[in-house]
């Protein structure tokens, strides 16, 4: 069995990178990928913590939920990006000035 600490370290690093991508990048598609990375970091933590749980599999069930939520999020976000691109003509978050409140 791999020490749970190692899973937590990988999850933490992945979460940090994902958060940085969400905060720093200007392309909406990059932000979407950053969110995927954050959700994956959470999944890694859950799976790593439930390694010895052979009966209830709680962590794995939770991870399945996370995967479903991530898929839903990607679908809705992509629909929004399509509309946004059609209306604003750009996926650069800095150019989407119309969303500002005066």
């Amino acid at each position: 069995m791999i020490p749970i600490t190692l899973y937590f370290i990988v999850g933490a690093v992945l979460f940090a990178i994902g958060t940085t991508i969400v905060l720093v990048r200007r392309n909406v598609l990059f932000v979407l990928m950053g969110i995927e990375l954050i959700l994956n970091a959470a999944s890694i933590n859950f799976v790593g913590a439930s390694q010895g749980d052979y009966i209830k599999l709680s962590g794995q069930m939770m991870t399945l939920l996370i995967i479903v939520i991530a898929a839903c999020e990607a679908v809705v976000a992509l629909a929004i990006i399509m509309v946004l691109f059609k209306k604003a003509g750009s996926v650069d978050l800095m150019e989407l000035k119309k969303l500002k409140e005066f």
């Binding site: 069995m1 791999i2 190692l6 899973y7 990988v10 690093v13 992945l14 990178i17 994902g18 940085t20 991508i21 720093v24 990048r25 392309n27 598609l29 990059f30 979407l32 990928m33 950053g34 995927e36 990375l37 994956n40 999944s43 890694i44 799976v47 790593g48 439930s50 390694q51 052979y54 009966i55 209830k56 599999l57 794995q60 069930m61 991870t63 399945l64 939920l65 995967i67 479903v68 939520i69 991530a70 898929a71 839903c72 990607a74 679908v75 809705v76 992509l78 629909a79 929004i80 990006i81 399509m82 509309v83 691109f85 059609k86 996926v91």
Partner: protein, 174 residues
């Protein structure tokens, strides 16, 4: 260093390295490819933790679904061809050396220890247990997931349909 631990470190380096590539690259296409690599690494980490079902689901849902959707987004928001061109050509030796190195390292580690019937694999496959749990103890959650998916299906279709309606009204004006 135990065998399992080596593979764990290998795949975590793959996952984190690809994430760093997403962080630094300016090309959206490279970023999607790096995301593919990162998600594959996460699937491998799941398998190493004994969650074989989750590894398969990760590959099916993420790489078969989410990644293709993201690729569609990249294609849809395509603007200028220069963004997808490689400005600095790599040396050909790099393309040969890196895969060789990987294969060498993997073989050196894996071959002497081929009967890997150790750690997570001493327990049976999780497929049966997972299915039983979903249809007994976690049945309400299962139903709610279905409901959520229905809501997302209708919602995303509705958001997208505003585009179609606008196109139609524009067509009528012209």
């Amino acid at each position: 260093m135990s065998n399992i631990l080596f593979f764990f470190i290998f795949f975590s380096v793959q996952t984190i390295g690809s994430a760093v590539v997403i962080l630094f690259t300016r090309n959206v296409m490279y970023a999607v490819t790096a995301l593919l690599s990162s998600l594959l690494g996460v699937a491998a980490l799941f398998v190493l933790a004994g969650a074989d079902v989750l590894g398969v689901i990760q590959i099916i849902v993420y790489i078969g679904g989410v990644l293709v959707l993201t690729l569609f987004g990249v294609m849809y928001t395509y603007q200028s061809p220069k963004r997808y061109q490689e400005s600095i050509p790599h040396k050909k030796s790099v393309f040969i050396l890196i895969p060789l190195l990987f294969v060498l390292v993997l073989l050196v580690q894996a071959l002497p220890l081929l009967p890997m019937i150790d750690d997570p694999y001493q327990h049976a496959s999780k497929v049966e247990v997972t299915g039983m749990l979903w249809l007994t103890e976690y049945l309400p959650i299962f139903e709610w997931i279905g409901f959520l998916l229905l809501v997302v299906l209708i919602g995303a279709g509705w958001i997208g349909s505003t585009l179609v309606q606008e196109d139609k009204s524009k067509g009528e004006q012209v």
